[in-house]
């Protein structure tokens, strides 16, 4: 179910809250969470609900308040209002207990450059507790850094630092991993490996929340998403549900595109027809009308090479939602 802040309506789309009676458990839950710097509200009454065992994208443009929300969640800066729970525990009241099973990278991962990768992990392990030190070798191995573990971090590339940052998170044996723009600095192979890591991590029943301004990356990496704009969560839920909740369209490839466009545009079930370059995209008012459209094209003597449902991308849905918001403003 494509869920969003309870009781809120975004343009023409009514949003629906996460159902706590469904048996799912929320690993992150905020209510009216607000952060202000002076007169400027950076996080505006955010109602975020992250279910367990998903890769959750926190998606929004630069300056939307993504990093600030993460900093508030982790207790790096106090909230100005509202409440929050991590792993079911109220924060800041049970912050230490909750964060013991949370790994996080805020902004780019930073290290003591004069220490080796292993020593940097040992420092955080010392703060984590006695079991964390035993996880250092495994974390380095998992992130492919074992061979460079005893080199000074000052000699690491940005991509290696990203991986070392994730290795540092794994020292907590985290149930929840919060990563801020984790794809920054990764080369294509690194991005592929990161996606694989996310899949494996989630397959273990753990949860990843990653913030990003890259729609495409979130779509490829995550299965749930919250879209944030100007400090507010506009909508949240599974990506599949978000796509299905958008406009229905059909892609049509024919030998005479201008005639087909005229024919489709005249059909009462078609809202509009746009040329996508490779094919015509007919946006439908009635998704049951596809066979009728096909018949109309064939009866007109057109050769239909392709007729398939148009699959909205996250980017298209994002633009639809933000356009509605702008129009509503």
């Amino acid at each position: 179910m494509w869920a969003a802040p309870p009781g809120r309506t975004v343009g023409a789309m009514t949003t629906q809250a996460f159902d706590p009676t469904s048996g799912d458990v929320l690993v992150v839950e905020t209510a009216g969470l607000t952060k202000r710097f002076g007169e400027r509200t950076v996080v505006a009454s955010v109602e975020l609900q992250v279910p367990r065992g998903v890769a959750f994208g926190y998606l929004g443009p630069n300056g939307a308040g993504k990093t600030t929300l993460i900093r508030v969640l982790l207790g790096l800066t106090p909230a100005s209002g509202g409440s929050m729970r991590l792993l079911g525990m109220a924060v800041p009241e049970r912050r230490a207990e909750a964060l013991a099973r949370v790994g996080a990278i805020v902004e780019e991962p930073r290290f003591h450059g004069h220490l080796t990768g292993r020593e940097n992990l040992a420092i955080v392990a010392a703060a984590r507790g006695r079991y964390a030190a035993a996880r250092i070798d495994g974390a380095l191995e998992r992130l492919g850094l074992a061979a460079r573990a005893d080199d000074r971090v000052g000699t690491y590339s940005l991509g290696m630092r990203q991986r070392l940052g994730i290795a540092r998170c794994l020292l907590a044996d985290p149930e929840l991993l919060i990563l801020d723009e984790p794809m920054n600095g990764l080369d294509p192979a690194g991005i592929r490996d990161f996606r694989a890591f996310v899949r494996d991590f989630v397959a273990e029943g753990r949860t990843i929340v990653l913030s990003s301004h890259l729609l495409d990356e979130v779509e490829k990496t995550c299965d749930h998403v919250a879209i944030v704009d100007q400090g507010r969560v506009v909508v949240q839920g599974s990506i599949a549900a978000l796509r299905d909740g958008g406009e229905h369209s059909v892609l049509v490839e024919v030998d005479d595109r201008p005639r087909a466009r005229a024919l489709l545009g005249a059909h009462p079930a078609v809202a509009r027809v746009v040329d996508d370059g490779a094919a015509l995209r007919a946006v439908l008012l009635d998704s049951e009308s596809v066979p009728d459209l096909n018949t109309r094209l064939v009866d007109a003597g057109l050769r239909v090479a392709r007729l398939e449902p148009g699959r909205a991308s996250l980017e298209q849905r994002f633009l639809e939602i933000t356009t509605r918001l702008e129009n509503a403003a």
């Binding site: 900093r71 805020v106 420092i123 703060a127």
Partner: protein, 266 residues
């Protein structure tokens, strides 16, 4: 875990903070030079001069030389303390890893408190080694000069360590407060090497001079060293007043640093 124990530094935390310091090769070299190196160089030069012309150059040892070198170790030890304290206090912030330590859920107070034993564990051995060398030199190379007694050696050593520990705590607190290594070094050195002797000589300040920690430390100097280890005039103070001044300054610096570390946006 009680609220109190959660704020106490664990041996692992202290070890981690010590690791950050001792793996800085430049820091190790500078501190070694300021402490052990200075004592070795000074004694070697002094003894060579004495051997080359024993009429005009006295021996490198003896009570007076111990006083001079105790002052030197104290002054350069304060420089070393400022460097180590500032590095310890602002190192995590400068490296950008403070937030990574905070998100572990570990008490910020524990993260701060661990820097105190860690920094002292790094600094004190250098100062102790420097003083041990000087103490040995003051006896072995005394020649015709009066040889310091065991009591004098012990008290002078404790005074030297107290001075360095005090300036370490001051530097640590200031570093956490201002969050900058370079500013901290400048502030502490200006206070120790320029302002303290200046204030001590302004007699019109009267008893207000007793509030200056350097003046209070001078009051603790063993009388047998006479003026050899003193920067300014002796200001009469009771031992209780000396203790109060040093404790208040050290506690104020540490509390201010701890407050800033526990309240800053990480």
């Amino acid at each position: 875990m009680t609220a109190l124990t959660a704020t106490l530094p664990t041996p692992r935390l202290v070890g981690a903070d010590l690791l950050k310091l001792r793996r800085r090769r430049g820091l190790v070299a500078v501190v070694a030079l300021l402490t052990v190196g200075t004592v070795v160089i000074a004694n070697v030069i002094k003894e060579l001069l004495h051997l080359s012309n024993s009429v005009t150059q006295g021996p490198a040892g003896g009570v007076t030389m111990l006083g001079h070198m105790a002052w030197t170790i104290s002054a350069l030890g304060a420089v070393a303390a400022a460097i180590v304290g500032s590095t310890s206090g602002s190192g995590d912030l400068d490296a950008g890893v403070y937030r990574d330590l905070v998100v572990t859920g570990r008490s910020r107070l524990a993260l701060f408190a661990s820097k105190i034993p860690a920094g002292l564990a790094f600094l004190v051995p250098f100062v102790a080694a420097a003083y041990a060398l000087e103490a040995a030199a003051s006896v072995v190379l005394a020649g015709g000069n009066p040889v310091p007694s065991i009591y004098l050696l012990t008290v002078t050593g404790l005074w030297t360590l107290l001075s360095v520990v005090f300036y370490y705590l001051l530097a640590l607190g200031v570093a956490c407060l201002v969050g900058s290594r370079s500013y901290t070094i400048g502030i502490v050195l200006a206070w120790r090497l320029a302002l303290t002797p200046l204030l001590a000589t302004i007699t019109t300040l009267g008893v207000a001079r007793e509030l200056v920690p350097g003046v209070a430390l001078d009051r603790l100097l063993p009388a047998a060293l006479h003026d050899a280890a003193r920067q300014g005039p002796r200001v009469g103070m009771s031992i209780a007043a000396v203790a109060a001044v040093l404790v208040v300054w050290a506690v104020a610096a540490v509390v201010a640093g701890a407050w800033r570390d526990t309240t800053r946006d990480a």
